[in-house]
């Protein structure tokens, strides 16, 4: 097992991927990126040289590589207090002005957050009035998200979160268990558009009333975070909301003064200036 990778080698990998495939990991946060690389080398049993060779010679490998590289650890109703704020403050705020609206889950991973939102909207009785867009750069994980099927062993934690969210029923009412897997009611995903989108190189593709991008930008350095936050600002309607992870912040970024803090504890911001 390789214990460490030089910064120079990490650079060789990111430069190759950028020139050959267009993905730009050059501004990813160093230490987590390095851990992902070490993990890929271990899981695929490769040396740095053989990884570079594989990346340059085998274009099909890149999807496998991206799937391993991106962190896909997530849970339903992560931070239940956040979801209560969305239900009790944010969505009622949007509904004051619009009967129908758009939500973007940027970096949706395996879709747990999308399902959580769909359940929340259904319990508010407005599921049919909302269009959800769920994007990720990892196509493998997007296919998984579309299946809405998860290991049954994850459900204990999800169910605990849901209880603390103070949902109306139980998560069991929304899914069926079979062979160690739970599959959620496909109707929940009826208004969801899944599409491949890379926050780093992707364009602004729509306008939204609410954007959720929680614990995605932590994998970027501040330069890149700043660029992505500009894209979110441009993708929001005026008075739309941006939700980020509980340990993320936008007070330091270029567009900070165009947002108002709505919930400091749950990190929800409102766009107040174009």
């Amino acid at each position: 097992m390789i214990q460490d990778i030089d910064i120079a080698d990490l650079k060789r990998i990111t430069e190759l991927i950028h020139s050959k495939y267009g993905y730009d990991f050059r501004n990813y946060a160093m230490s987590s990126f390095k851990r992902r690389m070490l993990r890929i080398l271990e899981v695929k049993n490769l040396s740095i040289e053989s990884l570079l060779k594989k990346l340059s010679e085998s274009p099909v490998f890149i999807n496998e590589f991206l799937d391993e590289l991106t962190v896909n650890v997530t849970e339903m109703f992560r931070d239940p207090g956040f979801w209560r704020v969305i239900r009790d403050e944010i969505i009622p705020g949007i509904l004051l002005n619009h009967k129908t609206f758009n939500i973007w889950h940027a970096g949706c991973s395996s879709g747990e957050e999308v399902i959580s939102m769909a359940i929340l909207l259904r319990e508010m009785g407005i599921h049919n009035d909302v269009s959800l867009y769920a994007t990720d750069l990892d196509t493998t994980i997007l296919e998984k998200a579309k299946m809405a099927s998860y290991p049954a062993k994850n459900m204990e934690l999800n169910e605990k979160n849901y209880i603390r969210f103070e949902g109306k029923w139980t998560l069991k009412d929304y899914c069926k268990e079979e062979n160690g897997k739970v599959t959620f009611d496909k109707g929940l995903l009826a208004n969801v558009t899944f599409r491949k989108h890379d926050l780093v190189i992707g364009d602004v593709f729509n306008k939204f009333d609410l954007i959720l991008c929680r614990n995605v930008m932590i994998y970027f350095n501040q330069t890149l975070q700043n660029e992505v936050l500009k894209k979110f600002h441009a993708s929001l309607f005026k008075y739309g909301y941006l939700a980020i992870g509980s340990k993320e912040s936008l007070i330091w970024c270029d567009v900070a003064n165009r947002f108002l803090v709505v919930s400091n504890e749950e990190k929800v911001y409102k766009k107040i200036k174009d």
Partner: protein, 197 residues
């Protein structure tokens, strides 16, 4: 005067702990010298889904307030930092923190190995690592990284630990510089402070 052979080249102190470490950590924080110049970076195992309460409980005992930093927050001299619940906390080149939600390591998030290992990479021989009582092996590898980079390593005397698995894991992985009771760790920190006057 010194029994520890210290100097003023250190840039940071990292502390790891798990089951049975709360008492030790509060003792250290409550007896910090008023002028202590180094950042103290703590990674303690904690309930994953309880975000509030822990940092407040530590702050009450501490000479200086303890904060759970945000992602990409600069590490300041004299700051006391605690890894937030359900995130791994890394130290990055450029002297700031980065959070991540990667897979658990040693069944833990935050994992002590990550905080200690990344701090060792950034501060190299200018780091002091302290590992306290704990019921799993997390932190052992991190202490080895600190030692391998030339930093100073200290573990709590196993006989004083409520559960000694964690310090023993470190002792088995590397040659620890000092095996000390918490009171002696407090003395070491106070002696260290004098080198910065």
């Amino acid at each position: 005067m010194s029994q520890f052979n210290l100097n003023s080249s250190y840039k940071a102190v990292v502390i790891g702990g798990s089951a049975g470490s709360f008492q030790g950590i509060t003792k250290i924080l409550s007896q910090l010298p008023k002028t202590f110049p180094l950042p103290i970076i703590m990674c303690l195992h904690r309930l994953k889904h309880v975000r509030n309460g822990f940092v407040e409980a530590l702050s009450i005992k501490s000479v200086f307030p303890v904060v759970e930093p945000n992602d990409k927050e600069q590490i300041k001299k004299g700051g006391i930092y605690l890894a937030p619940s359900n995130y791994h906390m890394s130290v990055e080149l450029g002297n700031y923190f980065a959070m991540s939600t990667e897979e658990m390591i040693n069944n833990s998030r935050p994992a002590i190995d990550i905080t200690l290992g990344t701090a060792a990479f950034v501060y190299r021989e200018k780091l002091i690592g302290i590992l306290l009582s704990g019921a799993n092996r997390d932190g052992g590898m991190g202490m080895k990284h600190i030692k391998d980079k030339g930093g100073l390593t200290i573990v709590q005397e196993p006989s004083e630990c409520m559960i000694d698995t964690m310090p023993k894991a470190a002792i088995n992985l590397t040659k620890i510089d000092h095996v000390l009771k918490v009171d002696d760790i407090v003395s070491l920190i106070n002696e260290l402070d004098k080198y910065y006057r």
